[in-house]
Subunit: 337 residues, 2 copies
DNA sequence: CTGAAAGCGCTTACAG
DNA sequence: CTGAAAGCGCTTACAG
């Protein structure tokens, strides 16, 4: 079948393509086009099954109504949910989302940025990788609308959507303390992300203030060797003297793998060891006991990021950092809710 | 910052934009452009930080190097993984993927098809919703490259990538029978999808051949009320006389919710009741006993779909249905692997 | 009330 | 070895 363009319709009706464009876009203000012609155009378009060419339109108007979403690890459920919500909200506002995955690698982030720029995205939402501050600075200087989410570089002054990492981690650790844990471990990443370090700082401060902080109980695991390192960390913790009776996990990937490692070692979670996880996981709902976790307001984060970005695209140019509050969820027996 | 186009480079160098285009695209065959000039162009492009406008190129050449992926339910882990792999393979072949979600609704599928057509996708990969056969027929007749995956309409003669639903379901049900189950239930969707019905048919045939099929043990649940219906179905099964001692779940969403419902009712899975699930789930790996499941070759499905689609885009026009083999996974104690 | 024309940024025959 | 020109399908001032 041959492509139907505005011109096809215009020719068949003996009018100009300008008129057809106006009518089809509803830009026929102040009765520019007669009602009669207008209806004929609409009918013909429907009849020919006309589909507008968005590419041509974008090229002409210089806006693609597309936003680039760069995610650090799309296989992570947290990011998956974030991407899904961002996509939904974007669509509601008339924007299409192009998703790129970086696998936490700076080189891939650079590649995705260029790729998406070539596709003429109107703006970016990014969960930046480590050491991407220079790339972000460049991007920001080029004045393309940009919002960071989940993570940020505080010194960079770029729009960001974060949670209250320090406060919620402090509070969650206090909960473990209040449950009677005297020897609380922290498992975190060996890395340089601001948000993760804030979580660690929150937990450490809570322990210090309770007078039970022990630096030996902080284990750092590597992103690339998560499973192996977690196993080792858990093994160390449960075999130390004195044994650890509580663990704070600083991210969701660490949490789920940490719980698996505990179960594998026949530790009765929430009895032998109290734990505190980051982010909800379907797996928790299948366990016969409650797994308390820090619930991030993913949907709100997505909505805020989109709102911020679209405001920028539409000409707003103040920079903002929005801090949303995470919630501490502690259910009786999770599977029952 | 002003946009840098081919013309900017051409003007600064005093050459034509045609020459710049040729050089930048590496189409400078047979020494058309002098090495000297060629190098100058490359240098200038790098210097100005030139980013090509893919939109303009696509408009000109009539190919967008974009494919539309329409997923029935992106929050489902199976589809999430499928989408991820499709995206990866597409990228390797130089294609961008635009993802649309239909939430199993025909109206949303229609909307996404039009939306993606307007974006000039070169082809579609679709997990079709129920009753979308007419829409697919129209699409297929318009000669746009099209591949269905996971699901199909056998009467439609459209490229499809499926698994051996009947055979693997038959075989998996046999496993339950061999474990000694005498009273096996089937929980499936109340719907009209070919692939799900094939799974059901496979299970039923296995039971019939063993002489233990009982139509009362087949429960149908609704997609929109999955939790409620599953709870009811499980309740019925475990309170019947004689009680069910094995259950075959026909999809992954049914499986995970079914397992949750069993645990909630304090059924000791794999002891009181043997189960068989569709698709892997992270949650299974946290349970202290093995949950056998049918593992679909998701990555292979993605690869095959992309290969089939790109072959079509590049001019191939034979129609093919590829059946990939699913695998029965039955581990000792899953959490240990 | 409607049309002719320019131009978005490319590529690709064609001419020299 | 290189340039001028046309055209992809739109939109938008401008002219009438």
């Amino acid at each position: 079948m041959k492509k139907i363009s505005l011109k096809t319709i215009a020719n068949e009706l003996g009018v100009s393509s300008a008129t057809v464009s106006l009518v089809l876009n509803g830009k026929d203000k102040n009765g520019r086009v007669s009602k009669d012609l207008s209806e004929k155009i609409l009918a013909k378009a429907a009849d020919l099954n006309y589909v507008p060419n968005t590419l041509a339109k974008s090229l002409k108007v210089g806006k693609s109504k597309t936003i680039g979403l760069i995610i650090a690890d799309i296989s992570n459920l947290f990011f998956g949910a974030l991407a899904l919500h961002i996509q939904t909200f974007a669509q509601q506002k008339g924007y299409t989302v192009l998703i790129g995955n970086t696998n936490e690698k700076l080189s891939e982030m650079e590649h995705m940025v260029n790729f998406l720029l070539a596709r003429q995205v109107d703006g970016f939402i990014i969960t930046p990788t480590e050491k991407s501050d220079n790339l972000l600075k460049r991007l920001n200087n080029s004045n393309i609308p940009l919002v960071l989410v989940d993570r940020t570089f505080p010194e960079l002054n770029i729009n960001s959507v974060l949670i209250n990492n320090y406060e919620i981690s402090y509070k969650s650790t206090e909960l473990l303390i209040n449950k009677g844990c005297k020897n609380i471990g922290i498992v975190t990443y060996k890395q340089d992300h601001f948000h993760v370090n804030e979580r660690r700082r929150g937990a450490v401060d809570a322990l210090k203030n309770a007078g039970i902080f022990n630096p030996d109980n902080v284990e750092e695991v590597r992103y690339e060797y998560l499973r192996e390192d977690i196993s080792a960390a858990i093994y160390k913790m449960i075999n130390r003297n004195p044994k650890v009776d509580g663990i704070f996990f600083t991210t969701n990937s660490i949490s789920i793998n940490g719980v698996k490692a505990l179960i594998k070692n026949d530790i009765f979670v929430q009895k032998d060891i109290q734990i505190m996880c980051f982010d909800e996981n379907d797996a928790f709902y299948i366990l016969p006991y409650a797994v308390p976790f820090i619930k991030q307001p993913i949907k709100e984060m997505a909505r805020t990021a989109i709102d911020l970005l679209i405001a920028q695209i539409e000409g707003d140019n103040k920079t903002e950092t929005v801090i949303l509050e995470a919630e501490l969820v502690e259910k009786e027996k999770v599977v029952n809710q």
